[in-house]
């Protein structure tokens, strides 16, 4: 689809969620902070989409908009080809449930006042997902088993403070699953759990995606984790409120096109001493990230970009487009013009 010459990268699967020209700003101390600018994004059914970027790039805000927790300031979000604003009444309530979110902090995402059994029973009861007490209990057990919290009987009467961080994240995921969602936004869902436990959680999410046909929007600042998790899906790299590059994970990771993506990938240390010490890093022109209240004109990355071309980069705002010799889409005018090969 095309809006003002902006292409949205289409996925092979049927699109579940489409963001079209989404803007979002917040007002703080009487200053308008544009957190998202012109986000165009499609998430296909049963797809894995990773949003990566540094703090302040807008990935969490995008996630919250997708999960229905925030309204965009401008632009349209479509779910199953219908604008969200067209949903009314029961359909709207159902839509809301189909988009769920799992938060980052396992210590803040569960109410300390309730047992695990209660936490799972609230949405099940409220939305009449089960009939009667026995079915409710069975469903709670099923959900706990699904997220590998076994034996479930040991869990139901525990309070969140009695569980480890990893176990709490599992409860959060189980809670999101109570309402049988179609899409789950995992906002840095494993970044606060230990390295040794992350992979189990990610594998479980991948398994649930298979079993339940879930779509997963995975938000992270950890590129290696994004690469592992979304190997079969896509990655969108964000910088200062815009998507600068989007494409299939192997393409983006192995052949990054945007200078920002290249700099990020080159900067990540690797758990391999020889490799990481001989990695070619890219020197930026500046280490300072511009403030969101003072975003540079043209390409927001141009004051730091090592490949900055005067007149082009600071004069025109680049939009996501496919570039010659690339499988992914990139918002960088020199790359779109065929410069900056390699990567």
């Amino acid at each position: 689809m095309v809006t003002d010459g902006v292409q949205t990268m289409t996925t092979t699967a049927r699109p579940l969620v489409q963001l079209e020209g989404i803007y979002r700003s917040f007002v703080k101390d009487r200053q308008v902070i544009p957190v998202l600018q012109d986000i165009n994004l499609e998430v296909g059914e049963n797809e894995i989409l990773c949003l990566v970027g540094e703090s302040g790039c807008g990935k969490t805000t995008t996630g919250k908009i997708i999960a229905g927790l925030l309204e965009p300031s401008r632009g349209v979000m479509r779910v199953a080809d219908r604008p969200v604003g067209d949903y009314r009444g029961r359909e709207k309530a159902l839509l809301r449930r189909q988009l769920q979110i799992v938060h980052q902090d396992p210590f803040a995402s569960l109410n300390p006042a309730h047992t695990i059994g209660d936490i799972l029973s609230f949405p099940l009861k409220r939305h009449r997902m089960t009939e009667g007490g026995a079915a409710l209990k069975r469903r709670i057990w099923e959900l706990l088993t699904m997220v590998d919290l076994t034996p479930p009987g040991d869990m139901v009467n525990k309070y969140p403070h009695q569980l480890s961080g990893g176990q709490r994240q599992r409860v959060s995921i189980a809670r999101a699953l109570t309402v049988q969602p179609k899409l789950i936004v995992a906002d840095e869902a494993v970044s606060m759990v230990d390295v040794s436990i992350r992979i189990t959680l990610l594998k479980m999410l991948l398994r649930l995606r298979q079993e339940l046909g879930l779509t997963i929007v995975f938000i992270t600042h950890d590129l290696a984790l994004a690469k592992y998790f979304a190997w079969e899906g896509r990655i969108a790299v964000m910088y200062l409120g815009r998507i600068v590059e989007i494409g299939r994970t192997p393409d983006v990771i192995a052949h990054p096109a945007h200078p920002y993506t290249r700099a990020l990938l080159a900067a990540v240390p690797e758990a391999d001493p020889e490799l990481t010490r001989h990695k070619q890093t890219i020197a930026l022109r500046s280490d300072d990230i511009p403030r969101l209240t003072d975003i540079p004109p043209g390409c927001a990355f141009h004051p730091r970009c090592p490949f900055y071309t005067e007149g082009t980069c600071d004069g025109h705002t680049p939009h996501l487009k496919s570039a010659p010799g690339r499988n992914q889409q990139v918002a960088c005018i020199p790359v779109q013009q065929g410069a900056l090969q390699g990567g």
């Binding site: 540094e54 230990d194 992979i199 690469k227 240390p269």
Partner: protein
């Protein structure tokens, strides 16, 4: 960088720390021994609750009131060759020791800087407390700020809130070197910062280390950062150092099942599609630790002996490191064996 393996700066022997919780005594650090050489960077890696932060606090004698050092010694060697046991120091001696011999850089850069003090105030106060004149302090600070790639004059007159997270972290790094200590202890210095900021901190650290030749104890849960900057890596599990050795040995020829499992759980950017295995279960209760090897409940290489007998520390064949694992041979066979 001049790594002098003949000069030991800090020598920790059999250090045990426990603290009193409501349920009983938590053995947070048990019988930890290691040597830190001049110019060496030692990375202590481990997951939350493995005792690395407690060890850090014990090294600078800043343990909370309910904690106690149960055994061991921490021998520090001054530049002039004198050696003392840190545990014999009183508060005054410890204050003199900190900053001038051993300084610290902590995780939360914003919290470590007093919001109402300018950077210049911090510089002058720290210098005055250790008997260094204002002019000397000013020159040193400006040089250090240049070295950490900051706009020295601007930063010198700034308040903490006027700087970004990465700048603050670099200011702290520079301040920690103001009194030219022999050791800098860094507790997760790159954990809460962004990728590009982390990169610039790591680069600055490497460069400073080469120019000023100090030793670093780097505490982190991040294997990749350790791989990048450490000369020596120590893996900690349940309060013990289970393996310690040169970085390439630990990463490519791991001898301890936990080290290898941890490496196999860390995704790698350059590896393409990979199969990773995480470690089942969770770290043991340090009030009543399991018998035998403390890792045996989660270990893929477990044998009957692991459940009963704690494994002894065995030196590598090369003598460069040591590991405490009954199944070293099998672990080594599975290790990545690159380089």
């Amino acid at each position: 960088m001049s790594l002098d393996m003949n000069k030991v700066v800090l020598s920790v022997r059999d250090l045990s720390v426990s603290y009193q919780a409501r349920r009983g005594r938590v053995r947070a650090v048990s019988r930890v021994s290691f040597d830190l050489h001049a110019g060496e960077t030692l990375a202590l890696i481990g997951e939350s609750g493995c005792g690395k932060s407690t060890l850090n606090l014990a090294l600078i004698r800043q343990l909370p009131k309910n904690a106690s050092i149960d055994s061991g010694s921490i021998a520090y060697t001054y530049r002039d060759g004198r050696t003392i046991n840190l545990l014999d120091f009183d508060k005054t001696a410890m204050r003199r020791y900190l900053w001038s011999e051993c300084s610290m850089v902590f995780q939360g850069a914003l919290n470590s800087l007093n919001p109402v003090l300018r950077v210049s105030d911090l510089v002058y106060e720290t210098a005055a407390a250790h008997g260094i004149g204002r002019l000397e302090a000013l020159t040193r600070a400006l040089t250090l700020f240049e070295q950490v790639r900051l706009d020295a004059k601007r930063v010198f007159n700034s308040y903490p809130h006027e700087m970004s997270g990465g700048m603050r972290q670099r200011v702290l790094l520079a301040l920690s070197l103001l009194l030219r200590p022999q050791i800098v202890i860094m507790d997760e210095p790159t954990t809460a910062v962004d990728i590009l900021t982390q990169r610039s901190i790591l680069d600055v650290l490497k460069q400073l280390r080469a120019e000023l030749n100090f030793s670093v104890i780097f505490i982190s849960h991040d294997l990749a950062v350790a791989a990048e900057i450490a000369d020596t890596v120590a893996t900690m599990y349940a309060g013990e150092i289970v393996e310690i050795g040169p970085v390439n040995d630990v990463f490519y020829r791991s001898r301890h099942a936990y080290t290898l499992s941890l490496l196999n759980a860390a995704p790698r950017l350059s590896a393409g599609a990979e199969t990773l295995e995480s470690i089942p279960g969770s770290p043991p209760d340090l009030i009543e630790p399991p018998p035998g090897c403390k890792f045996h409940e989660r270990c893929a290489y477990v044998q009957p002996i692991c459940r009963t007998t704690p494994p002894p520390m065995v030196a590598y064949d090369s003598g460069a490191g040591r590991a405490a694992c009954h199944e070293t041979a099998r672990v080594l066979a599975d290790a990545r064996q690159k380089v």
